[in-house]
Every structure is written in C-alpha cells, then in structure tokens.
C-alpha cells in the first residue's frame, strides 16, 4: 500500500469506513502514489483523490470492461504475464469488445476521456492495486463485480508482486479470521472445501471422531429463505444483528420470529437478542479473553485477555464447550491456544508454522505459513509469475457483463438510494452508539443541493422516503458531494430510521450479499413532524 504507484479505491470510502487503513493510503500518497477513487458520491476519500470517477451506482462492470477494452486497444496489456499465468484471455478480449469508451461513458456517466486516462494510468503504472469494499460487493452481481476487477489486475500483471494486487478490505478486525476458521458455509477451517476435499474431511473426521457431511451449508440469505419456507427452525447467532443489519428488515424480523428456537450469544442486548428464546451473555473476546484475529493483509495476530468479563458473562469457548458437553460431547476445557494448535494440525499448509510463540515474537504472521521456519507470505499469487508456470491452475479471466441495479428509477420512484457508513458510527450502532461523538448527527437523507431546491427542502426538514418495500421519515441533509437524482442514507440508527425497510432484498446467488447500494425511492416533504411520527 505504501510502496505502490497507483491506488484504485473502488467502491470504498476508506477515509470513513477504514480510517486506520486509510492512514496507509495517505502514506502511499506521500510517497508519490496517485489515488483514483471510484464511487457514485464524491466522498471524503474521493476528496483526496487525483481523480474521482463518479460512476452511476451499479455500473462497475461497465467501467472496468471499458477500461479493459481501452487497455487492450492501446496495447498496454501485459501479454507476457497473460501468457504465463492466466487462462481465458481470448474469450475475455472478445467479451469486452462492445465496451467502447462512448458506451462506457454512457453506462457509467463518467466522461470518456476520464475513463481513458484512468485505464492508461492503471496499465502504465509499474505497480498498481485495486482496493474495494462494499461498493463492489453489496450488489446483486457482487461476485461479477469482483471478477471484473480481478480481470483488470490480470490484464495488466498487477498481481503477485510487491505493491500490486486486488485487495478486498475487511470491514472488521477479524472478518478475515472468521473465514480462516471456517465460519463460511462451504469451507472447513483453513479454506478446505467441504465437498471437494476428501483428504481434508478425513483429517477432521479422524481428529474429531465424527462424520463430516460433504455438503455446503447455507449463507445468511439462504438461511433467511429457508426460515421463510419453514425448513430452518432453529438458529444459533453469535455476535451478529441480522434483525437490523440486513436488507428488507420487515422480512428478516418475520423470519426470526417464526423460528422454533433462537439462541443469541452476544455482548450487548441487540434487537436480534430481544427476539431470542435464549440469550447467552458472552465475554468480549478482544479484551476479556485470549485468541487470534486476522486482518485485511492476512496477518494473524495474538489477542490477549486484559480484563475479566462482567458478572455473568462467560468466555465464548466455555459457552460452546459447555453446550457440547450437555449435548453429550466432552471437549474437555480447551483454552484458545489448544483450539489454535488443533487448527494448525488440521490445516497444516495454511497455519502449521504459526505457533503462539512465533505469533508473539514476530508480532503476527501473514498466512499461508506451513512450517516454523516459514516467514509468512507478504503477498499472494507470486506463483503466477514463476517460469515455467508453477503448480496450480492459471488464474482465469472471467467473462462478466454489465447488468446494472435490479431497480432503476422511474416516475414513481425517481431517486437512486445508495447506503453506506459515516466515520463516527459503525453499522447498526451496536458497537458505537453508546459512545458520544461530536460528528454524529443522527440519520439523515443526504441529497444534492439541486434536488433540495427542486423539492423546496432545507437542512433538517423531515422527508418521507418511500421504496417499493417500505417508507421512513428522516430529516434532510444537503450534501454537495451528491449529484441530482442520487440520495444517500446510512444504517447507523435503525431504532430512529430503519433504512433497511427501504433497501431491496435482491441478492447475489453466488455470495448471498444483498444489494444495499442501489434501490429506487421517492422523496417527499413530510407534513408529519419527526417527533410525533
């Protein structure tokens, strides 16, 4: 990050959503990197950029395919790398051919010369990287969006080298760690495929003494659907607040209320916990227990217990072991290091070399780290550059096409609502609402000065915002970073303004993520006062 030449921040307002990580961006800028920010809004991140590309919501694939076509036609692609480390290039070239600069400009709204400049800058850079977050993944075609960005990196050889790469930024300190440890429906710990990797299954079966079903589980969206169908009747929720954080809140709450048995393990009383049959008060493991976290750069770091949990709250390992014991499985009384060492045995290629002692001594290690002499892996995919081509399959280009958001504005719902975060608040406020911040101004509908003038709206006026799914009252906030037709809300204050009553429950079948980033709404001045709504 700090030693790259060009950074594309694509669908990320890291200045507010990843403020610590953004310091590293600033260091990179200080060291001479150019910053391009792709976002419908001219966010605070975009205000640091050399170029802001203000695309229309959901036109990311159009932009990346147009850039790709321009790169190919200008002869700026890295043919040597493409030949050595990739597959599917010809099909890709063919697929992007319709995306002329003018077509891209039409679909994204970004002037053609600006797209051209972005393409050339990215391709010509010695080192360049694309970093993205939910602006890419909270769409109904999330996976295609990601693949489109990976295509750009493969096309230009900006992968597998220092200062390059395609980097999803994680939203919490341990989102990556959750995946590492198998908290995803299709993988065993260490990203071992539960259906395809029989050897891995066998390792787990031998150690655990149970049969592992070679069957993918549900992701959250699928779980909600299964609840709706009455197929899923019990749910154990650990540290998640789906009643407020998921799209189309009405629907989610109904599903949760319909469960036979809802268990919520939490450190605070969330809305989801209020709906639960059983609430298990848990210790806050980041300070009241031991363990590891894995950050966005795959660095596994030790977390040490600093204080005792409050009366009645239990260590999460204890809770789970105790549940297992009462269900007839005696796991003993494992500590966090015991669990970690078991993981190292079960995922040796991934974590074999990461003992607690080494994690402590080195201040964290980037996986994969197969043995105790291995220094960790600062960046992935270096093998794509090896000659002759190294083990594993070449990185495939993927053919993806522009679809645009499921909902487009029409006469009835003329605005595009996009959602996101602000610096001082985090998601539904579970972790932040109890802290005061001078920056916090409550939920607002942010709209452009042009729309405000047209609607006769001033700062603080109460608006009624209506989508096909619901309607909320919310004060207006004039925001010059928005253009006419585009409005913005957060999801930080669900008790005051349930933004997700408005959002669409369309989701990506491949990843299960919902299209929080675009839905069509109507905005009217409300005659109701906010206090008496």
């Amino acid at each position: 990050m700090e030693e790259t030449d060009v950074v594309f921040l694509w669908g990320s307002n890291a200045r507010e959503a990843h403020p610590i990580w953004f310091h590293h961006v600033l260091k990179g800028i200080r060291n001479g990197a150019r910053l391009y920010v792709v976002d419908p809004r001219r966010t605070t991140s975009a205000q640091w950029a050399d170029v802001w590309l203000g695309l229309n919501p959901g036109s990311d694939i159009a932009l990346s395919n147009t850039m790709a076509r321009e790169i190919i036609h200008a002869g700026l692609q890295d043919l040597e790398f493409i030949g050595n480390g990739t597959s599917g290039y010809d099909g890709y070239v063919e697929s992007v051919e319709p995306y002329l600069l003018e077509v891209g400009a039409q679909l994204t709204g970004i002037p053609a010369d600006v797209i051209r400049d972005a393409a050339h800058t990215f391709a010509r850079a010695d080192r360049a990287m694309i970093c993205w977050t939910l602006g890419i993944t909270e769409h109904h075609d999330a996976v295609d969006n990601v693949l489109a960005l990976i295509n750009l990196c493969l096309l230009t050889g900006h992968v597998g080298r220092w200062g390059c790469g395609a980097n999803p930024l994680r939203g919490q300190n341990n989102v990556q760690g959750g995946g590492d440890m198998g908290a995803i429906p299709n993988k065993l710990p260490g990203f071992q495929d539960i259906e395809l990797d029989a050897a891995a299954r066998e390792r787990f079966e031998q150690l655990w003494g149970v049969k592992i079903q070679p069957k993918y589980g549900y992701n959250l969206t699928e779980m909600l659907k299964a609840m709706g169908r009455g197929e899923l009747t019990s749910l154990y929720v650990i540290g998640e607040n789906p009643a407020q954080s998921d799209a189309d809140t009405h629907h989610v709450e109904q599903a949760l209320q319909g469960l036979d048995h809802l268990v919520v393990q939490e450190i605070v009383m969330t809305r989801t916990a209020e709906l639960a049959h059983v609430v298990l008060p848990a210790a806050a493991t980041w300070c009241e227990g031991d363990g590891t976290v894995t950050n966005s750069e795959r660095r596994v770091q030790l977390c040490r217990k600093a204080t005792d949990p409050p009366e009645g709250a239990r260590d999460e390992l204890w809770i789970m072991s105790e549940i297992a014991r009462r269900m007839g499985h005696d796991w003993g009384n494992p500590c966090a290091e015991d669990v970690w060492n078991e993981f190292r045995v079960l995922a040796p290629d991934f974590a074999g070399g990461m003992s607690y002692r080494r994690l402590d001594e080195l201040g964290g290690i980037q996986w994969p780290c197969p043995d105790e002499s291995h220094p960790g892996t600062p960046f992935l995919h270096a093998r794509l550059w090896e000659r002759p081509p190294a083990r594993g399959r070449p990185a495939p280009f993927s053919v993806v096409h522009h679809e645009g958001p499921v909902e487009t504005p029409n006469d009835e719902f003329p605005f595009v609502l996009t959602t996101g975060r602000r610096l001082e608040s985090y998601n539904t406020g579970v972790q932040t609402a109890s802290y005061d911040s001078p920056l916090r101004r409550g939920e607002t509908l942010d709209l452009s000065p042009e729309d405000a003038e047209r609607l006769g709206v001033e700062n603080g006026d109460i608006l009624r915002v209506t989508s096909r799914r619901g309607s909320v009252l919310v004060p207006a906030h004039l925001d010059p970073s928005l253009r006419a037709g585009l409005v913005f809300m957060t999801l930080h204050f669900p008790d005051d303004v349930a933004t997700n009553l408005l959002t669409i429950d369309a989701s990506d079948p491949k990843s299960g993520t919902s299209e929080f980033k675009a839905c069509a709404v109507r905005v009217e001045l409300s005659t109701t006062s906010f206090a008496t709504r």
């Binding site: 975009a46 205000q47 970004i110 002037p111 010059p480």
Partner: protein, 636 residues
C-alpha cells in the same frame, strides 16, 4: 482532502481578490459554482495537483490583505476551498504574519517605526504626539480612540524596523483597495503623520533617492557594489547593459559552472547575511546533489533592525541581482529561483519585478538564456512582516506558504531545502559580489580585505552619525575610519556606544574604535559584523530604553516554536522591565544573574539563530558597556 469549511460566504470583492492571485476556479470542486455537467461524474481536485499549489496560500492571503484590507472568515474559507488547505492551517498562517489582519481594519494604515534608529531620532515622541492627536494605535477591539480620525478610513500602528534607518523617523503607508498603495515615508513628523492619516497624498517613495553618501561609490580596487547606485537608471535594462551589465553572465556562460565555482572558491567569499558561511562550499554541495530540481533562494528578507543595505541594492541596482541570481543558478543547476523580499520594501518590489520582467522579455530569463542551454526564471515572493523569515529555513517554510517556523538542522538546505529539494540560500549582497568575482577573477577579489575576510563590505550607518547611509569599505577598515567616512558623530554629539551587527549583534564602547572590521577581529573581540549594522549613539540616547526595545523586538518576533526562545525572550524582557522600574526581584545582581542564565539557555537550546542571539545585545549592554552596574560586577 476532506475539509470542513466555514459557513461564512465570501463577498464578490474577496472572490475576485483571491482569483486575481490564483486564477478563476475550474470546477464546482475547487471553489467554483455548481452546474458544469462534467462535475457530476468526475473531479480532479484534491490530489497531487492541488497539493502542488499549496505554496500559494501566503500570496493568496496577501492578495486579500492588499485589496480588502483584512482577511475575513469568508475570504479565508474561499482560499481554503481553492487551495485544498484546512481552515485551521490557513488561520495559523494568517495569524503568524504581522502584516496580515484577521479582524476588520480601516483601509489606510500607517505603520510607524519605533525601532532603535527611529527611536533615537524621536520616534517615541512622535508616537506620543500621534496618540495625543489621533488616538491610540489600532487594536482589534476599536476603543474610544481615534479622536480626529475617521476610524473607518485610517489607523496607525507601531512597527518594528522598516529598514529606512537612513531616513529616520520612518513609516510605511499602506492603503488597501482595488489598486493597493504602499509607500515608504521618511523624515516623518507628527503633523505629516496626521495629514497622511487624513488622506493626504504621500508623494514619491522615500526610498527612491539614495543618500548622497552612497552615490556611485568606487574603489581603487575596482570592486564596488555601489558603482551603479545613484548613477545608472535602475528601471532601464539598456542603461544597465551600457554600464557593463550582463558581461558577467556572458563570461560565466563561457566559463561553465565548475569554473565559476572555482573562482568563487578562490575569492573566499563568505555570506553577507550574518552567518559568514563560505559561498563556494554551499554552491558546490548543491551542484553535486543528484536530487532534482535544485532551487535558488535569494534572501532579501532584510529585517535585522538597523539594516538597509539590501534595500539599496534591490532598489538602485535590481538588474545586478537578477544577473547574479542567474549566474548562481548556472553554477548550481537551478532552473527556478525565488527572491524573497520583505514586505516593507514596496519600491524594491516594484523595481525587482520590473527588472525580472524586462530580463525575461530580453531573453535573459526563461529558456535558452543568451542563446545558451541555460534555463532559469525568478519568482518574487514577498514577506508579510516576520523577522524570522530571514532565517534560512524559515524562508522555505514561508515560500511554501506556511508559518515561518525554522526547521531543525540537519538536514541542511543544501540537501533538503525548499520543497525538500537541494537549495541555495544566498543574501542579496553575497550574490551581488559574484558579478565582479566572475569578471575579474577570484584571486583579484581576495586581494582586497584581509586573508580571512576578503572583498569589500556594505555597512549601514545610522543613529547619531553625521551622514547616515550605506558605505562600502574593504574588509579590515577600522570602526573609527568607517565612522569618520559617515561624518563622525553628529554635531554636538559625544559617542557613548555603537551597536554592531543589529539587534542580534552587540554594543561596543567608544574606546573600541580601533576594532578592525573583519570576521576574525570581531570574533576575537566577542562581537560580530552580522548584517553590517553600525549604529552610533551619543549622550542623548537612552541606552537602557534601546536595550528594552531590542528585548521587546525579540519577544515579539520569536516564532514561538521552541521553548527556550519563546519563554526566554519573555523572561528577558520582564527582567529588564523590573530593572528599569527599580522593582527588582532579589536585587540587581540577582536580576543580572537571571539574565545571564536565561541567555545561556536561549543560546544553547534554541532551534535557530533568533533565539541563539536574542541575548547577545543585552549581554553586551550588561557586560561590555556596564550599563546596569560597575564593571567588577559585570565581569564576564
């Protein structure tokens, strides 16, 4: 970057004052209006292109000050929007410089010098009379003062040394407006001051006529910095060339950079700004730096009280400075030079601007100078009333549009100077010497003066001398001989002390007139040549009052960045006030011991020369003059 701009809206006049400096905004994102179609889906503001314009902050603030008369919140916010600078940072800069006002002020302001040289010519009495007649000097909270003045039209202020010591008592008249007016005033009287405050035409600039003493001075050695002064039209490039101008540059182009530096090295020229560092060594070091670009800064922020030699060179021989800077650029590989000129010299600014413009038109600046491969241009930047900006790194900060706070050294300017690049900083007089060194050779130059102090030197004689002015003498001339050249002590006067080197210099006694004016002799005597100030005082001068004024000067001009200087200059002034009022703490001996101790801390612990020399003049008054007690007590 993401900014939180003030809600205050700039007036149209403020917008146009800023746009006159920065050009018109290009989009909604850099302070322009919304409505341009492209702006909805793209912006190119806030990145490196914006950061590259950050240095225009001070000129933009000066633009507002000059046209509007003060910097309002709306005006400041507009500059911040245009330059992508946080308002707090811009406020920090605006409040750093004495000549920028951040509260409403009448358009016409008379800055009345009450510093040392003007003080011994009645500035104190003049200010008292002015206060009696027109009310107290302007303050941010307009009081009941300004009895005879229209408070919406004019105000007056005390000012530190304006560099017009040869015309004392002096003032600087500034009138903000669409066509700002700035005029140096000499020989000021209370009556004239009131006239000026009432709207009278100030007439021609007092700096326009050089004093008779310095006209066309020549030397048998042939090295004369003042040869053209008062003789050659300073506004005519042709006149300059007819008088031998640009022969040195032509010669330097033939010689090439290495030979130019070799000659300067042989001349043993050292800096004339006060620090006396070998010029060739600086040049050679910058020349060899691989980092690009290299910058040249001509330090014309002549603010040492009692100093006005550079003013005379800049005003009377501006092309010589342009030519000398071009030669320095050739020798050190600079394509861009800045002349940083103190704000108090409006005529010098006009003349230098005119000269640079004429040189550019004649192909003597810009690309392919004199048909060679040399490319160089000069940008003139003005100070805004801050003594500290004459410090060699504070000047970079100021040119970069920041508060003029000196940097820690190392790294030194020759490797990390302006914008972090290798930079030459030379004083005006230093550069002026280069012309004759190139033309006549370094060896010939070194034959004037002494072995260790070569060439001639400009001295600024003021105070109670017969003929105040600039005098050029070979190094090694005695103080007495120099004083005689200026007509000795004025008629009826008896010399009681001399101040050598300015406020950062030292007092010497009347029995020290045999002192040879060289670096080595002054150093051995525990004093300094500094910037060439020689200020004489007769029996009418209140030396303790002058020492207090010097202490007040340092307290006011300390940038406040480092503790020894920020606190020390205050403690020093307080002790002197207690002594003056007779209310000492623990007696005179204890106060003098405290002064010594505070002085030692400032000398040892300050970041830059300001703090390091803030006690020098006071110390010499205590120990050398015995101004506060018998010599036994005052022994060093």
């Amino acid at each position: 970057m993401d900014l939180r701009l003030p809600d205050a809206v700039p007036t149209d006049a403020e917008r146009s004052a800023v746009d006159a400096i920065l050009g018109r905004p290009e989009s909604a994102w850099d302070g322009g209006g919304r409505g341009r179609a492209r702006d909805t889906h793209m912006a190119e503001f806030g990145g490196r292109a914006s950061r590259a314009r950050r240095h225009l902050l001070l000129p933009a603030l000066q633009g507002l000050q000059a046209r509007i008369g003060w910097i309002s919140e709306g005006g400041l916010g507009y500059i911040c929007a245009r330059l992508d600078v946080p308002p707090a940072e811009a406020w920090g800069v605006a409040t750093f410089y004495a000549m920028l006002a951040t509260s409403p002020r009448p358009p016409r302001v008379l800055h009345v010098c009450d510093d040392i040289a003007c003080r011994v010519h009645g500035a104190t009495e003049l200010c008292a009379a002015l206060e009696h007649a027109s009310g107290p000097p302007f303050s941010h909270a307009p009081a009941a003062g300004h009895i005879t003045l229209d408070p919406d039209r004019a105000a007056w202020l005390h000012a530190p040394c304006l560099g017009m010591c040869d015309r004392a008592p002096a003032a600087l008249l500034i009138e903000a407006g669409a066509t700002p007016m700035e005029r140096s005033i000499g020989g000021l009287t209370a009556v004239r001051a009131i006239e000026l405050l009432s709207g009278a035409d100030p007439g021609p600039d007092a700096a326009a006529q050089p004093p008779f003493s310095q006209r066309g001075q020549t030397h048998e050695s042939g090295f004369a910095l003042l040869a053209r002064v008062g003789v050659v039209d300073p506004e005519s490039l042709d006149a300059y060339r007819q008088a031998g101008g640009y022969a040195a540059l032509a010669r330097a182009l033939e010689m090439g950079p290495e030979s130019v530096i070799a000659e300067v090295n042989e001349s043993r020229l050292v800096g004339r700004g006060g620090a006396a560092f070998p010029t060739a060594r600086k040049w050679e070091t910058v020349r060899r730096q691989p980092a690009q670009p290299h910058y040249l800064v001509c330090n014309a922020d002549e603010s040492e009280p009692g100093t006005f030699k550079d003013r005379v060179l800049l005003t009377e021989d501006p092309f010589a400075i342009v030519e000398a800077m071009t030669i320095a650029a050739l020798a050190t590989g600079c394509e861009k030079g800045f002349l940083y000129l103190r704000a108090e010299y409006p005529l010098a600014f006009n003349r230098m601007q005119r000269a640079a413009h004429a040189a550019r038109d004649a192909g003597l600046l810009g690309e392919r100078i004199l048909g060679s491969g040399l490319q160089f241009d000069i940008e003139i930047r003005r100070g805004a009333g801050a003594y500290i900006c004459g410090e060699e790194t504070a000047i970079f900060e100021s040119i970069e549009g920041k508060r003029g706070e000196p940097r820690n050294k190392p790294p030194f300017p020759v490797t990390h100077g302006l914008f972090g690049k290798p930079t030459i900083v030379n004083n005006v007089e230093t550069l002026a010497n280069v012309l004759s060194i190139v033309l006549r050779g370094g060896a010939a130059f070194a034959r004037t003066g002494t072995a260790q102090s070569t060439g001639t030197r400009l001295f600024c004689l003021s105070g109670h001398v017969g003929a105040p002015g600039i005098y050029e003498v070979p190094m090694g001339t005695t103080l007495g001989a120099l004083l005689d050249l200026a007509g000795g002590v004025r008629a009826g006067g008896r010399l009681t002390a001399l101040l050598l080197g300015g406020a950062a210099g030292a007092f010497v006694r009347p029995d020290e007139l045999g002192l040879k004016l060289t670096h080595e002799d002054t150093r051995a005597a525990g004093v300094t040549l500094g910037s060439g100030v020689v200020m004489a005082f007769d029996q009418t001068a209140d030396l303790r009052d002058i020492v207090l004024r010097i202490a007040a000067f340092f307290r006011d001009e300390s940038c406040g960045q480092c503790v020894p200087c920020r606190v020390g200059t205050v403690r020093q002034e307080e002790a002197l006030h207690r002594i003056a009022s007779g209310r000492t703490r623990g007696g005179l001996v204890a106060e003098l011991a405290l002064l010594d101790e505070v002085g030692a801390v400032m000398k040892d612990g300050s970041i830059c020369g300001l703090g390091q020399t803030a006690y020098a003049a006071v110390e010499s008054a205590v120990h050398r003059l015995g101004l506060y007690g018998p010599p036994a007590q005052a022994a060093l």
